[in-house]
Each structure stands twice: as C-alpha cells, then as structure tokens.
C-alpha cells in the first residue's frame, strides 16, 4: 500500500494549511497551531468557505458539507472530512498490538480503545517500536522526537489506569 491513512490525514491538513495561507493571512504558519485555529475566524464569509470547499474537492476529491465549517478547529474540520485522527491512530495502535500479540486480532477497535495501554504495550520493545512507527507517520510538530521524547512517550503509555483511547488523546494534547 502506498500510504498510511494516518500520514494521509496529516498530508490533507498540510494542504489545507497551505491553501488557508492564500485565503487568510491570520493563518498560523505552524501546522499544530493552525490545527487549533477556528474555521469560523479564518473563514468568516461564504466565499471563503466555498473557496476551501472547492480546493478540497479538486485536490483530494473530497466533498465538504456546509456543516463541516461549524466545528471548533481545523483539526476537527479535517476529522469531518477524513476518518478521525483518533480512530486512525487507534487503528495504528491496534496494528502494533496485534503484531505484538495475536489475541488482539479478535477484538474490535472500539474494544481495544478501552484496554489499558500499559497492559497492551507491556514491554519496552513494543513501546519503542510503536514510537518509531508514529515517528514515521506524524509530523514533528505533532510528535516531537528529539531529546527525551521517547521516554516521555514510554511514560505516556505506562501511566497507571490509562486506556488506549486516553493515551491517544494524550499524544495529541
């Protein structure tokens, strides 16, 4: 397969980010800060909204319903257009979990999300491998890898009573 949906999610966000800099100069140049900006603020008129809709349609073959603009952030908007970042990330974690232990293949993704992350990723080796996988899929502004990032990630997964769904939220917090 040519691409992973997780990297594709960020590739789409990156292109939207680039186009938004053509539409509104208040668009933050930093991708992560842009992801937290409000579509209502940066796209205050119907002309601006439709311009972005057409861009998404011609660039990604993506349909943009008018309701997509009534979300809080551009990250949410991208979640409306693509399968959500949370769901795709959970699928990546599930892939890693299955590779680590085949018993997880019988589980639905929803059920895996409720498992404790420390129990599923129970060795330093599997956590390290997952770190490398995410490093390959996520932009550095969302997933810093310098300094003590790998230790912080390890700690994030091993925090007591933290479910996989909660761990995913912590990754993007």
């Amino acid at each position: 397969m040519a691409h992973n949906p997780l990297s594709s999610w960020f590739a789409n966000l990156l292109e939207i980010h680039d186009h938004m800099q053509t539409l509104n100069l208040l668009t933050d140049p930093d991708l992560k800060k842009f992801a937290a900006q409000s579509p209502a603020t940066l796209l205050p008129s119907d002309l601006l909204k439709r311009n972005l809709s057409q861009f998404c349609f011609t660039q990604f073959g993506q349909h943009v319903p008018d309701t997509a603009f009534s979300v809080t952030t551009f990250s949410d908007l991208n979640d409306v257009l693509s399968p959500t970042l949370h769901l795709i990330t959970r699928a990546v974690l599930m892939g890693a979990a299955i590779e680590h232990d085949q018993k997880y293949s019988a589980m639905t993704q929803t059920a895996l999300g409720k498992q404790l992350s420390a129990a599923v990723f129970d060795t330093a080796a599997v956590r390290g491998k997952l770190f490398d996988t995410l490093d390959g899929l996520l932009p550095t502004s969302f997933f810093p890898t310098d300094g003590t990032a790998s230790q912080a990630f390890d700690q994030l997964l091993t925090t007591a009573n933290r479910t996989i769904d909660q761990a995913i939220d912590a990754i993007y917090a």
Partner: protein, 413 residues
C-alpha cells in the same frame, strides 16, 4: 445524483451479488464500521455546484489494519440496507487517498427518518470477510425543499391609496436548491411572498426566481450566476421581470503579505468583488410607477467592493481592540437614462464609504453588558466607535449625491 469525482470501477454495484457475499462472509472485527465512520451528508460538487446527497464511509482505520493482511485492495463491496431492505447503490466515489468512500443513491432512497445500515466485505485468499455498523444511521436533513410560512398583524400599514389601516400578512418562502440532479450548473427556484388582507397594501409582494450558478474555474472559486426574477404586487398592478448575470470572487491574498500584513497595517483577507448586469422589463405599471419610471426597460451594470477588516498600527499582534478601517464601494452604469427635459444620457454613478473604528473597551456602556450585574464586567462586550464617511450616489433616493459623516457606538462580539 451528480457524477462523483474519481468515480472508479465499482459504480452500479449489483446488490444481489453483494448479498450473496455478505451471507457467506465471516465477520471480521477489524472491518467494523464504528460510530462516526458512516455519515449522511449533503455537499456541493464542483464546478456545477449541484448539491449531492451521499453516505460518507471512513475507511482509514480499516485500511491501517488491512496493511497487515493486505486486504484493502479487495475491499470492493458495499451493501446498504435502508430500513433493513437492500437498496441499489448509484455510484461509488473515492477520495484521492482512497481513505474515504462516497456512496450515492437514486433519488428518494435516502429520505428523512430512514435508518441505514452499511456492510463492507473484503476478500482474503478465497474467503470473504465482512464488517458492519454497530448501530444504524438515522437520516436527517435530507429534504430537498426548504419552506416556511408565517402570519403576522401589521398596525397602520400604508396603502397605495395614501390611507393607512391595520392589515394581516401571510409570509411565504419556498426554495428548491437544486431542480435538476444532473446538470452542468445548479438550477434553483425560489419563491417569496407577502400576501396582505388588503390588496392596496404597499408592502404586498410576490417574487419568483429561477436561477443557475456554477463555478467554471478549476483553480479558484469564482461563481457565476444567471437569474431571472419576476416581481409583482398581489393584485398584479405592477409586474416586472429582472434578468441578471453576475460573478463574485475574492483574490489570492498570500502575495500581498509583505505589503498589507505588517506591523503598521494588517489586512488579513482579500476584498470581495461583485459584478453584475441587470435588465429590467416593466410588464405592468400603475400610474404611480409610470410617473417614476417612464421607460419600461432598464439596463444597468453594477459592481460592489467590500474590504474588511483592515487593522492599523497593531505592532506584532492582532485583536478586536485594534484601530481598524473598512472600505466599501459601489458603482452603477445606467445607459439611456432620460432627464426631465426628455434628453437621453448615460449615467455613471459611484458610492464610496470608509469607516474608521476606534476601540473603546474602557467605556463599558451598560447597553452592551449582558447577564446579571455581578457578571456584567466579565461578560461586557468590547465596544468601538465607528466614524463612517460616505461620498457618492445613493441608489435608494434615485442616485442623489450625498456626503455624510456618521458616528455610532457598536459592540464587538
């Protein structure tokens, strides 16, 4: 339904074949379509702007896991049940990354209140595996026609006879946003009316509009609109037909960043430009209208320009408390006008408006406060004083020229 972009080989899937596959497949948890992965939506297509109704299927999470078993390339089958009965799929479209699928259906399949189940199937080796939604999706917001009707009572309404009296109004609005499903342009029909209990009511009106719009440029959104509007009062004493053509757009704005987005001036968005041409044919006129409009035909070109907001002397920041200016301009070209002496002339008119907005948050005027007194300080809206200077022709007064300075206080939410 309009043709979807990147529609691939899977159009017009045979439901019977899918049923057979679904019946023989093994449920695979990883093909689960969790909550949020199947949505019903309506969105415009480009360049026609014709809205289409579709089911959005988010395949990303499935694809991530499919990499392990290489199933993805064979996820080729969808079965859709509406109220538990299989329905034929009109077309399947995919996004560029193939992480999202769009299923469209013949008209009348996805209507309000119906419950939709989506199943997908994928082959691994010679065995079919399948997955489905955990809960059916209820369709809402699918009505193709918007409408409203309301009654009101109006005291002392002015009549064409010059008298005034209390009248009742019935206000009707009806809109079909897309008359034709497969069309190179969105064709729409709108009707609005105010029917009065007194036929001489000056405010009675009936307006029927048939229009078409599309956005022909692939690279930039530039909608072009053609419209024909028939307006009349309710006793048909005045009937006119207005045909118009126009376009609206904004400009790519990144290239002006150095010039118009710096510490001295910040204009983050492009101005909006509107150009249109109108031809009006007065089909029926009463005496009062004849006096005002001697020529039954009128042609005009119209342009409008709005540029807002422009913040000044902001330094590095940008906020609602900045000093700001706004520009608005209008222009008219009306050929073959006649003056009082009956002489024909071409008229070119313009109106320019500039507003300067001073932030005055410290005033904290009670009128802009909301909530109880205790929280008034924290919930007070920011305020600003607007100095507005207008120079040029006023359309509503027959293009009389004005030069006017107005001052107002307004809240900034």
């Amino acid at each position: 339904m309009n043709t979807l972009p990147r529609t691939v080989l899977l159009a017009c899937l045979a439901t019977a074949a899918l049923q057979a596959q679904a019946h023989n497949c093994i449920h695979q948890p990883n093909l689960d379509l969790s909550a949020g992965q199947v949505k019903f939506e309506i969105a415009p297509t480009f360049p026609s702007l014709v809205p289409i109704q579709y089911l959005r299927i988010g395949l990303g999470p499935i694809k991530v896991l499919a990499t392990n078993g290489d199933w993805w390339k064979d996820i080729a089958n969808y079965e859709v049940l509406v109220d538990k009965k299989p329905v034929p799929i009109g077309a399947l479209g995919l996004t560029r990354d193939e992480d999202t699928a769009f299923l469209t259906f013949p008209p009348g399949v996805l209507t309000n209140g119906r419950k939709v189940d989506v199943r997908i199937a994928a082959m691994q080796g010679t065995q079919w595996f399948c997955g489905w939604q955990t809960t059916p999706l209820a369709i809402t917001g699918a009505a193709p026609i918007d409408g409203s009707i309301g009654a009101s009572w109006v005291p002392q309404q002015a009549l064409t006879s010059g008298a005034k009296r209390d009248v009742g109004h019935l206000d009707i609005q009806l809109e079909d946003k897309s008359l034709v499903a497969k069309s190179p342009a969105r064709i729409y029909l709108k009707g609005t009316g105010t029917i009065s209990t007194d036929g001489k009511d000056k405010s009675s009106s009936m307006v029927g509009t048939l229009g078409a719009e599309f956005a022909p440029l692939h690279t930039w959104y530039l909608p072009i609109q053609f419209e024909n509007k028939v307006t009349a009062d309710q006793i048909l004493a005045n009937v006119s037909n207005v045909s118009s053509a126009g376009m609206r757009t904004i400009f790519p704005w990144r290239w002006v960043a150095a010039l118009l987005f710096n510490n001295a001036i910040k204009a983050p968005q492009s101005p909006e430009l509107d150009l249109s041409a109108q031809f009006e044919r007065r089909i029926q006129q009463d005496a009062a209208s004849m006096k005002k409009f001697m020529d039954p035909n009128a042609f005009r070109l119209y342009s409008e320009f709005n540029w807002t907001p422009i913040h000044l002397f902001t330094g590095k920041g940008y906020s609602a408390n900045d000093l700001a200016v706004e520009f608005a301009g209008k222009g008219w070209y009306l050929p073959h006008q006649r003056n009082g002496a009956g002489r024909s002339f071409d008229r070119l008119e313009g109106l320019a408006e500039i507003s300067v907005l001073f932030p005055v948050g410290a005033l904290n005027l009670p009128i802009f406060q909301s909530g109880d007194k205790a929280s008034a300080t924290s919930t007070a809206a920011k305020q600003r004083i607007r100095f507005k200077y207008s120079l040029g022709a006023n359309e509503s007064t027959g293009f009389k020229h004005v030069s006017q300075l107005s001052i107002g206080v307004e809240a900034v939410k």
